[in-house]
Amino acid sequence: MRRMLATAFVLVLIGCASAYAVQPDEIMSDPAKEARARNLSRELRCMVCQNQSIDDSEAPLARDLRLLVRERIAAGDGDAQVIDFLVARYGEFVLLKPRFEQQTLLLWLVPPFVLVGGGLALWMYARRRSKGGPDVVPAALTADEEARLAALMSADVPAKKP
């Protein structure tokens, strides 16, 4: 889908796409640490690509970042420390899941607000209606329909079909 829709987008991707990311020589010997590195990689953005995590991207920058993540893990950093380190270096842009801060308030709050607000609106609407709001009023006929009705009423319609 992404392939087709944006030609411009595709052109950007070419630099990044082409198969895959994590290279055999990057993999850490400790499987637990490697798993942590992979999980962290999925949360971090390859900054020269279009919406790709460094785990997916083949761009040289993504490789550098992957190696950096592994370096920090090998040095004994916790997940949060690794993230902080990268944000300090590259800014919030590197996070694929923005932190809950002043400038992302709206981003995080829209989904719950729409859900709760919508639910409240529905509840109030149901209460108002059940207390006898505007009742069912059949729509009036249009002028066209009135004319057709009049024509039908006055016409000599055969009573039965064969």
Binding site: M1, R3, A17, Q23, L96, Q103, K161
Partner: protein, 660 residues
Amino acid sequence: MIAEGGHYALVLALGLALIQSTVPLLGARWRDGALMNIARSTALAQLLFVALSFAALVTLHVTSDFSVLNVFDNSNSLQPMIYKITGVWGNHEGSMLLWVSILALFGGLVAAFGNNLPLSLRAHVLAVQAWIASAFYLFILITSNPFLRIADPPIEGRDLNPVLQDIGLAVHPPMLYLGYVGFSISFSFAIAALLEGRIDPAWARWVRPWTLVAWIFLTLGIAMGSYWAYYELGWGGWWFWDPVENASLMPWLAGTALLHSSLVMEKRNALKVWTILLSILTFSLSLLGTFLVRSGVLTSVHAFATDPTRGVFILLILCIFIGGSLTLFAGRASALKQGGLFAPISREGALVLNNLFLTTACATVFVGTLYPLALEVLTGDKISVGAPFFNLTFAPLFVPLLVAVPFGPMLAWKRGDLLGAAQRLMAAGIASLFAIAVVWALARGGGALAPLGIGLGVFVVAGALNDLAERVGLFRMPFATTLRRAVGLPRSTWGSAFAHAGLGIALIGIVCETTWNSEYIGTMRPGDVARVAGYELKLDGQSQRQGPNFREMVASFTVTLDGERLSVMTPSKRTFTTRGMSTTEAALFSRGASQLYISLGDATADGGITVRIYHKPLVLLIWFGPVLMAFGGMLSLSDRRLRVGAPKPARALRGLQAAE
């Protein structure tokens, strides 16, 4: 000549659209049948001219006329014929021409088959269609003319982008556009209803088939695109929460909500105002998607700022149509009379709940897609919103929705009995608990959420079957009665059961793939064996092959399971000579619904090759689910209620004549 002819046909289509967008409205105002009927002829003529224009562009591509800029940029004489044809819409100008062609097709269909519509409604609908068409003809003619000539024609073209040289391009964009643009019909119906100030259950019945057609195509289009990305991109992902994907997901979510709310309107004459609003929103989101994808704003806000002609033009169209229709809605909606009452626990209530969750999901995708753009424009700060954000916000919205799905069809209209519905869903609940227990006991790794996810999927599927079983009285009545009832059951009931089951099946696939996906990354030399999920894959060797417009390096793997030889897989890496680009052709081997997936990386200096192998359990269910949903939609579409429900004056007249 062909290029100029195509261009001219498009100009004529614009002229016809301008007539169609004004004259029928005057006719409706003066109650002049002849003027209103002009809409029908112009819509058909428009279709003819746009089709001619499209055929002209196809001819230019097929004959490799490189004096036309669009052909030169996106085609090559060595390209296989199928890609010469699909290359027509594999670029900005051509895809916009496809967009208006499909718009004209839908307009033509309404004109040709809308005989059962009241004359003034049809005139209004076609006029609104023509407004949209005029805007986009102007867009193409002013900013994106596909028929531009090159003064000094080159001898060979630049080739179609290699990533697009795939059968997926033949299917995915036309389907997606049939979906996107198909929602223009429900939009036009909504605007027509607001203009006329009248709306009744018959309106919902007329709109529903069109909405359903658009929804079916959009569902298939999105699923097809996802599968294409899965095998073409070569890293085994199938959904990336990419803005371009989100652009198609938003109208799908809104359109699904619309399908459900129009059901309430048709059956119970309720939710009118909301249904109208949803019709407007769904198509607005389609327009938004077109803007996002076509303006270049996604690549970067700065790219948009440096060449703004196209983007600003579409933004203008977007503002006029969305702003205009919402203003009209705000002014007229209060005049629409409210319909039937219903208790909160009822079929209507369940459908309202469905709408609440789908709308919230849609709003989530909307804000996640546009927030980074808005923030950058307003403050200059750059943030990223990607898969982890959407996974975190989207899943909690879909879980309650999925839990509610089986209850909906079990509840009666007006006032339902939740306890009774729960009792009748007992079988589905037991099946679900059983599935959770089995997965819990057998699964290795994956945490506690995976069995619950599978259980939810099974609950949705079993709930759909349970509903059917209840309706036909399975095991409660003699088999013959059951069979007779099954035959007599409305197709739309079968349709919704299939669609809901498809949802559950897709969920099962998603949970399995994300939880128990295993992978192998390594460097292999001929003779090496990789082991993934019990399978042994032996690299037999590599060879070079020459394709029509590329060279490829093919690796051959023998797949064995427990010593039994299953298959040979041949992933490859292609280098396209003209553009000097390379693509990875993954090899897929399906066993049941599970797949082995191999993609190749670069060759190493010592004669090895980096290889990535995945085993993806039940991954095919992810796409089988949507196919089942679309099949359910088709069943529903063939329901006779949608065909015979509305009165047909022409046939009634014939009946009268026969009687005399």
